[in-house]
Amino acid sequence: MVWIIVLAVVAIIVFAVIGMYNSLVGLRNQVDNAWSQISVQLKRRHDLIPNLIETAKGYMQHERGTFEAITAARSQAMGAKNVADAGKAEGVLGAALSKFLLTVEAYPDLKANQNFLSLQEELSSTENKIAFSRQAYNDQVLFFNNKTQMFPSNIIAGMFNFTKRDFFEIEDTTEKNVPKVSFGN
């Protein structure tokens, strides 16, 4: 009788450990998956920029400084090694791009160019996708970090070396004080 009870308790503990371990692995995979989604979008942003500059160059001869800033920020961002560095570099690039898109407003010929318009839609969508994939990634990281720090799953996390992950923060000063643009008719 005693043996059966002991066996049952051991079985319950073993199953609980397996369950917690599996859910931790699942969460960690989701974090990795969300990160790869961000990388895909960042790469897409980097790929779009040369096209955009090529199209805009002919119309905006007096904005060489803007183009140079974007190109420099792009190569900086492409060379980033870790999450924190990437966040910083992408922030600079994002700021340069949004400044560029504001400058475009002064060039009606460029704004009427069909090719440029579709590139602009692609770029602003990519910007959105970066923001949304960052949102999804940070949600997953929060979920995963909570699991690794809360009792009782923190014991399993400690045993199997599940370490807490970094949030992806894009450092951006312009994001907080966006200039008001109005398109009155």
Partner: protein, 404 residues
């Protein structure tokens, strides 16, 4: 949110069996009405259960295809409307879901719905009128609402319920009509019994069968409607959270509610799938019981009353607006998240003439037309059955390859 997803999966199964019971009851009474002994009842019951099995299989495997075909939605390529594709992709990323298939309905009434078995096999359909009327933020709000339906697994539930409801209505209709015409031409000969004294009992059974056949579709509809209202609020909350911008959805709902063109492809069975009830006009408040959707004005007021973009913010705004129980599961509000509302993206001024032209263009592109922009500024629209491989610009005479 897991609580809601699990509850929805459970509800889908429950609904399947409830519908089985209703179908069985109809089958049994109809069987009894035709053949007034237990054999007839069992025969009817058997037939009903076979129909149920077929329906269950059909709605699992191709319920979405049925609804898409019934609403005349056509699958489209990215080139037809790149912005719509981008927005759907953005929302799929925000919800961490695979990219759903995209359909466009050739309708000028603005509306949208989502369907499918699971997130891996989901579709989102929007009308050309919706694409033409809404700006980017508003369209994003609508797509986010539909994406929330997919995320919450509402789509399977609504699809199964729609197919089952349609079937129950159809069987009852066939029975009622056969009774009507049978009594008109056959003079009730078919229903005469072998023994004289069971005639009275059969007449009673016949009356019960008719009452059942009339009541069953109504009951099924009420059940369906009661279950779909809460989902709309939840999808609104989920949409606001995904976009971080409740105003987009609110102003989209406002524009949709101002529409006066009815959606011709919608019917009773598919009505709960749409973002806004396609059959009922605003202001025509029948009763909350028979409406698939909460009143639009209320949904807009709640969205505009949100101080952040989280589920907690939505439930607070909900309490302030309706003073009734919050439809959000408590598990969604456990983590005290604070989500700030983002800034509006740049808006273009509305131009109604251009809007009408855009809607026409979208309809033609979805219908397989190819557009060629001539260097002289003329836009040529090549119909899908255009046979020649060359096309000449009527203004400047430049020749183009009509197949691209």
């Amino acid at each position: 949110m897991w609580e809601q997803i699990r509850a929805n999966k459970r509800n889908s199964i429950l609904l399947l069996f409830l519908m089985a019971a209703v179908l069985g009851a109809i089958g049994w009474t109809i069987g009894m009405a035709y053949v007034p002994n237990p054999n007839g009842g069992i025969l009817g019951l058997g037939a009903a259960l076979i129909i149920w099995l077929i329906l269950a299989a059909v709605s699992f495997s191709s319920g979405d295809a049925i609804f898409l075909a019934a609403s005349r939605a056509v699958p489209v390529e990215k080139s037809v409307n790149p912005q719509l594709f981008n927005i759907v992709e953005e929302m799929a990323i925000a919800a961490s879901l695979p990219m759903p298939k995209i359909y466009i309905m050739n309708e000028s009434a603005p509306n949208a719905f989502a369907t499918g078995r699971n997130p891996q096999n989901a579709s989102i359909a929007v009308t050309a009128g919706l694409l033409g009327r809404l700006n980017r933020d508003e369209l994003q709000g609508v797509v986010a609402h539909e994406m929330s339906h997919i995320l919450h697994r509402d789509i399977l539930f609504v699809t199964i319920a729609g197919v089952m409801l349609g079937a129950i209505t159809m069987i009852s209709q066939i029975f009622l009509r056969s009774m009507f015409y049978g009594s008109m031409y056959g003079g009730g000969r078919r229903y005469s019994s072998r023994s004289k004294d069971s005639g009275g009992a059969q007449a009673i059974l016949l009356v019960i069968a008719i009452v059942c056949a009339i009541l069953a579709p109504i009951l099924a509809t009420l059940l369906y409607f009661a279950l779909s209202q809460k989902r709309e609020y939840l999808a609104d909350a989920g949409g606001a959270r995904l976009t971080r911008y409740p105003e987009g959805l609110a102003s989209a709902l406002e524009k949709i509610s101002q529409n006066t063109v009815p959606l011709s492809v919608a019917n009773k069975a598919s009505a709960p799938m749409y973002i806004v009830n396609p059959l009922q006009k605003e202001g025509m408040k029948l009763s909350d019981l028979t409406s698939t959707h909460p009143p639009i004005s209320e949904r807009i007021k709640i969205l505009r009353g949100m101080s952040g973009a989280s589920f907690t913010d939505y439930s607070e705004a909900f309490k302030n607006t309706t003073h009734s129980a919050v439809p959000i599961p408590s598990s969604a509000m456990k983590t005290a998240e604070h989500i700030e509302i983002r800034q509006a993206s740049s808006q273009q001024a509305t131009n109604y003439k251009k809007q009408t032209r855009d809607i026409g263009d979208i309809m033609q592109m979805a219908g397989g037309y190819r557009f060629i922009n001539c260097s002289c500024g003329l836009k040529m629209k090549i119909p899908p059955n255009f046979s020649s491989s060359k096309v000449q610009c009527p203004r400047c005479g430049t020749e183009y390859d009509s197949r691209g």
